[in-house]
């Protein structure tokens, strides 16, 4: 029967979604519990922050630069038609600080760092290194997961600060090049119309996105089954889950903190 199989498929995918969400929740609880007296491997934290923060700076900077430019190009038609050069800085700043900046930077971060993290933890899992740690009575959550989660939250937050600045710079440059808006016009339009709340709204989001990316990528990394094929599949599932959770959290945070 076609209908029966259809129902079976729906049930199976609902079950597996519920299993993954539950796994992420349990992992979140464990990470929280080992953060209560904040004890973690400091060297591991610094190493992870270097790898996740410094190494992904170039791609984030390039993304942010073009994002700023993109916002200027999109508003270009209105600006040309109504000759409203005074609103370019405000429009770009509003869009970049509140939405586009945090979301695009988080998506790139999830692709660069989250996927990489899943691949690394997944490789460790399939080569039984996590069991090795357990055999040495080292808690893998404390030793491996907690430093990664903390450093992802911090790194994404700081990268978003840098990325916002670069995006504004890119917007300025593009608006000078294609719209012929002076730097000072752009700057004053930005400074006078943007409240500090717009900036903090985006930064709060980016910290939450960092936690979401970290938890999803670690969960899919440590629950890998079945060799190289499994690692590839886990990375795929992790980036998809991270993208969905970024969009969902963005929605709820916008409603809560607007």
């Amino acid at each position: 029967m076609v209908g029966e199989r259809f129902l079976e498929n729906i049930g199976a995918s609902a079950m597996s979604t519920a299993r993954e969400i539950g796994g992420i929740g349990v992992l979140c609880g464990r990470v929280m519990r080992s953060l209560i007296p904040p004890s973690m491997d400091a060297r591991e934290l610094v190493r992870n922050m270097y790898k996740m923060g410094n190494m992904s700076l170039p791609i984030i900077v390039m993304t942010a630069f073009f994002t700023g430019g993109l916002m200027v190009i999109q508003s270009g038609i209105f600006v040309k038609r109504f000759n409203a050069t005074g609103i370019v800085g405000w429009g770009t700043g509003y869009a970049v600080f509140r939405e586009i900046g945090p979301i695009l930077i988080a998506l790139m971060f999830s692709g660069r760092v989250g996927a990489n993290n899943t691949a690394e933890l997944g490789t460790m899992t399939v080569t039984e290194q996590l069991d090795g740690l357990r055999a040495l009575s080292i808690n893998p959550i404390k030793y491996l997961i907690v430093p990664r989660v903390v450093s992802m939250v911090l790194c994404l937050f700081m990268l978003t600060v840098i990325g916002d600045l670069v995006a504004i710079g890119g917007g300025m440059l593009f608006s000078k090049l294609i719209l012929d808006v002076e730097f000072s016009t752009f700057y004053w339009s930005l400074v006078q119309n943007i409240h500090i709340a717009d900036l903090t709204h985006g930064l709060v989001k980016s910290a939450v996105f960092g936690a979401a990316i970290a938890l999803t990528s670690c969960h899919f990394g440590i629950s890998v089954r079945g060799g190289a094929v499994g690692v590839g599949r886990a990375v795929n599932a992790a980036v998809v889950a991270a993208a969905v959770s970024i969009m969902l959290l963005d929605f709820f945070l916008t409603y809560l903190t607007a």
Binding site: I59, M62, T63, F66, T67, G69, L70, I73, Q74, G76, I77, K80, Y94, R98, E99, I103, L104, L107, M108, S110, G111, R112, A115, N116, T118, A119, E120, G122, T123, V126, T127, I178, G227, A228, V229, G230, V231, G232, R233, V235, N236, V239, V240, A242, A243, V244, M247, L248, D250, F251, T254, Y255, A258
Partner: protein, 264 residues
């Protein structure tokens, strides 16, 4: 001071970059060539279209729906602060969805889902030596593996972008009605969309649909080692195709803008 290792490192990364770009170019030309030669396994394109299209429907629907709601919410908030006239928001949103956000955000989502999927699949085949086995039996791996995915992505990006834009628009209209009391009849107003917007949107879809499978397939074919190599290839595919989407968006939007203002 010893400069030699530093210079060597710069030189080797330059050489790697040149090597990778040549490889990427080779994959691109071989794929385009393979499209017209037409020696594909039967039913493979349809199968890939199912994989790329149908299985991304839920993902694209959920993400684009939420982003549509958020965008309308933020825009209405800001418009309320300045003028308070919310009647234009729907029309402008339709325009920007058609010429930019619909295709680009859908493609960003596909770059993570489909790009990672292609790279993981082809990368796993590479490290388990299935690609070499294909070559040994006289089958060109690019023609057999990448061309069907290329055709599937090319068609499905357009379909999913239309689907995603509709979902985002409907979700935005709902938000505007629920949170700001904008009448749906005022919101659903396609009169601002011009032919230029449609042309720009379709051009973007085609460009993204070509870039994502080529870059991801290329990353998959370059996988080395075992499970670690597959992980690296998947990461590189996600980054490469997402960045390609943003870059192509900037290029095509700038060209469209210059064309529009030059013609005005």
């Amino acid at each position: 001071m010893n400069f030699r290792p530093r210079i060597e490192r710069i030189g080797s990364s330059v050489l790697d970059g040149v090597d990778a770009s040549l490889d990427l170019w080779r994959v691109l030309t071989a794929t385009l060539f393979g499209v017209f030669r037409g020696r594909r396994p039967k039913g493979e394109v349809v199968h890939q279209m199912y994989q790329v299209g149908n299985r991304s429907l839920l993902f694209v629907g959920v993400t684009l729906g939420f982003i549509g709601m958020v965008m309308i919410y933020q825009t209405c908030l800001q418009v309320n602060r300045i003028t308070g006239d919310l009647s234009q928001v729907g029309g402008e949103f339709a325009k920007i969805l058609v010429h930019d956000f619909g295709p680009t955000l859908t493609a960003m989502m596909l770059a993570t889902r489909v790009g990672a999927g292609i790279a993981a699949e082809i990368g796993s085949m590479k490290v388990t030596e299935q690609i070499d086995a294909l070559r040994m039996t006289g089958v060109a791996p690019i023609e057999y593996l990448i061309v069907p995915r290329f055709l599937a992505c090319l068609s499905m990006t357009l379909v999913l972008a239309v689907f995603g834009a509709c979902i985002a628009y409907a979700a935005g209209g709902l938000t505007a009605y629920a949170s700001f009391g904008v009448n749906p009849r005022v919101f659903f107003n396609p009169s601002k969309i011009e032919y230029v917007d449609l042309i720009l949107g379709v051009t973007k879809c085609v460009a993204y649909g070509m870039a994502i499978p080529i870059i991801s397939g290329f990353c998959g074919l370059r996988a080395r080692g075992s499970s670690e190599g597959v992980g690296w290839a998947t990461t590189a595919a996600v980054i490469g195709s997402s960045f390609a989407v943003i870059l192509l968006d900037v290029i095509i939007s700038a060209m469209g803008f210059l064309f529009q203002t030059g013609g005005m």
